[in-house]
């Protein structure tokens, strides 16, 4: 993913100036670093791949356990993880 495709994230320090203060997006949020274990990182990458092109949120895959994502993705990731966790729980049928 090239930097020009994410004009709202100030992450190229020496070349680009962000139009918004301190590199935040139009809602004032900053990009997010995601730390997790390897399976969850894969889960998030998978989630990203399933998104349509305009909504992909991973800016960079740093390594097996670290990701760098767009500001708005935090809620989406959290709700996807909690749904995944619920699917993993067994509820005895009443």
């Amino acid at each position: 993913m090239l930097p020009q495709e994410t004009p709202n994230c100030h992450w190229r320090l020496f070349s680009e100036e962000s139009p918004h203060p301190a590199g935040t997006d139009f809602l004032g949020r900053t990009p997010i670093a995601v730390f997790s274990d390897i399976p969850m990182a894969q889960f998030i990458i998978n989630l990203n791949a399933a998104q349509p092109a305009s909504q992909k949120f991973i800016i960079h895959v740093l390594d097996g356990t670290h990701l760098f994502v767009q500001p708005h993705a935090a809620e989406m990731i959290r709700s996807a993880i909690s749904e995944f966790r619920d699917q993993n729980s067994y509820e005895k049928p009443a």
Binding site: H10, W11, R12, L13, F14, S15, A22, G23, R29, T30, P31, I32, A33, V34, F35, S36, D37, M40, I44, I59, H60, L62, D63, H66, F68, P71, A74, I77, R78, I81, R85, S89
Partner: protein, 431 residues
């Protein structure tokens, strides 16, 4: 989840936090001196007693000479404590001792003193009623007499109120409920004292009266007329909390300190006054609590699914859902496990561990399952002109504790959002 804890400091931390003038005034009272002496670490106590009978001031260097080589760290702790408490003024009172300003009432007056068990039951009942009202539970049988403005002070930090909604327990509130009684008592007393200035009551006087109270004998009656007006007002509040019991005879009225009051000067780490436990946790995650107290039921509901409530027994189960509920409310797994361990029924308390390992491990596993992914605002820096700039930028970020990730091969680093502005400035200066 952020580790937020209520720290229930004991009296000595509060006393040492007082401004120097007030502290010196406190030392006028011989009981404060004795209480402070009792609370010091052993080495500091030894130093104080050694210094008591020496007339001239002692230099710090000669104190260092009293020391063996390997005792240095304990020495440092002791000296710090002594300096904090400005112990130099202690001397006069310790040497001459002190007498309580009042004696227990003589038994020639016909008073029906409650037995020690009755007194304990009374204190417990008052305390529980107060706590139930504090958490705004509908279970409280009768409203306590504490004024609603005082209640609001205590509830500050424990409950949060949103418009049109019933007040809800905050994260601190949940943690508070799981603490043991002494720690809870400290928290309430500390709030009471810090609020005293606002009500026009001098905190130094309040602290000295409370410490004096802790030297009275539990279960003995003391005449109320020996108290000043100021102290009488405080006694009423303390009666509502369960620290003293007020009784009235035909001509006189008196107060009886309970165990809660005499425990005030005991340090938090002292476990000798632990009340009897009541919870049995089995390896199949079922929980049996031998208690009929509504407060205990509310507390257990915080993290377990209560299934039956019998006259002397509460039966419940620790389930994933009930624990997730607790974690979302800000309680940590360690707090739940230590609550279960501290309140373990005597039958299982001797067993090691008192809470089965599979239960405590599973509680921790469920907690870590909620925390598999950590997200924080951050910035990625790359395209460094040279390796030196990269290294120095990394060191700069490390100093601010803001370096989250780095890759020296590709010269990229991820830095916490909070220090982004500093980094930008730093890198502009390097250019």
């Amino acid at each position: 989840m952020p580790q937020v804890r209520i720290v229930a400091k004991n009296f000595m931390d509060m006393v040492s936090a007082l401004p120097a003038m007030k502290l010196d005034m406190l030392y006028e009272n011989p009981f404060i001196c004795e209480a402070i002496l009792r609370s010091l670490p052993p080495l500091a106590k030894k130093y104080v007693l050694q210094m008591l009978y020496i007339e001239n001031p002692i230099s710090a260097k000669s104190m260092d000479e009293w020391l063996l080589a390997d005792g240095y760290s304990k020495h440092k702790v002791a000296i710090d404590r002594l300096v904090q408490l400005r112990v130099a003024n202690l001397q006069k009172h310790l040497v001459y001792g002190g007498v309580l300003p009042r004696e227990p009432m003589s038994s020639s007056i016909t008073i029906r003193l409650p037995s020690l068990e009755d007194l304990e039951a009374y204190a417990l009942e008052q305390w529980e009623c107060f706590l139930l009202q504090l958490i705004n539970s509908t279970q409280a049988e009768r409203p306590s007499n504490i004024s609603s403005s005082m209640m609001k002070v205590f509830q500050r930090g424990l409950l949060s109120q949103r418009d049109k909604e019933a007040p809800k327990l905050t994260e601190h509130g949940f943690q508070f409920l799981l603490m043991d009684t002494n720690a809870q008592l400290w928290y309430i007393i500390r709030e009471y004292i810090s609020n005293s200035e606002e009500r026009g009551v001098d905190s130094a006087d309040l602290i000295s009266f409370l410490l004096e109270l802790s030297f009275h004998a539990t279960g003995e009656a003391y005449n109320i007329n020996t108290l000043t007006e100021f102290q009488k007002g405080i006694i009423k509040d303390l009666a509502d909390l369960g620290l003293v019991k007020l009784q009235q005879g035909r001509k006189e009225s008196w107060f009886i300190p309970t165990k809660l009051a005499t425990n005030l000067s005991v340090s938090l780490a002292d476990t000798s006054s632990r009340e009897q436990g009541f919870v049995v946790v089995e390896t199949n995650f079922r929980m049996y609590a031998y208690s009929s107290s509504k407060l205990h039921c509310e507390i257990l509901r915080l993290f377990s699914r209560v299934e039956y409530q019998l006259p002397n027994l509460i039966v419940g189960a620790i389930t994933k859902e009930s624990l997730y509920n607790a974690f979302e409310n800000g309680i940590s797994a360690d707090q739940i496990i230590s609550f279960l361990q501290q309140n373990a029924h005597p039958r299982v308390a001797e067993r090691i561990p008192s809470v089965p390992e599979n239960v405590s491990d599973q509680i921790r596993l469920w907690e870590s399952d909620l925390n598999r992914v950590e997200m924080m605002s951050a910035y990625l820096y790359d395209d460094f002109p040279s390796r030196d700039v990269f290294e120095s930028a990394c060191d700069f970020a490390r100093e601010y504790n803001g370096l989250l990730w780095e890759d020296s091969k590709k010269m990229r680093m991820v830095v916490k959002g909070e220090i982004h502005m500093h980094m930008k400035e730093y890198l502009r200066r390097q250019k």
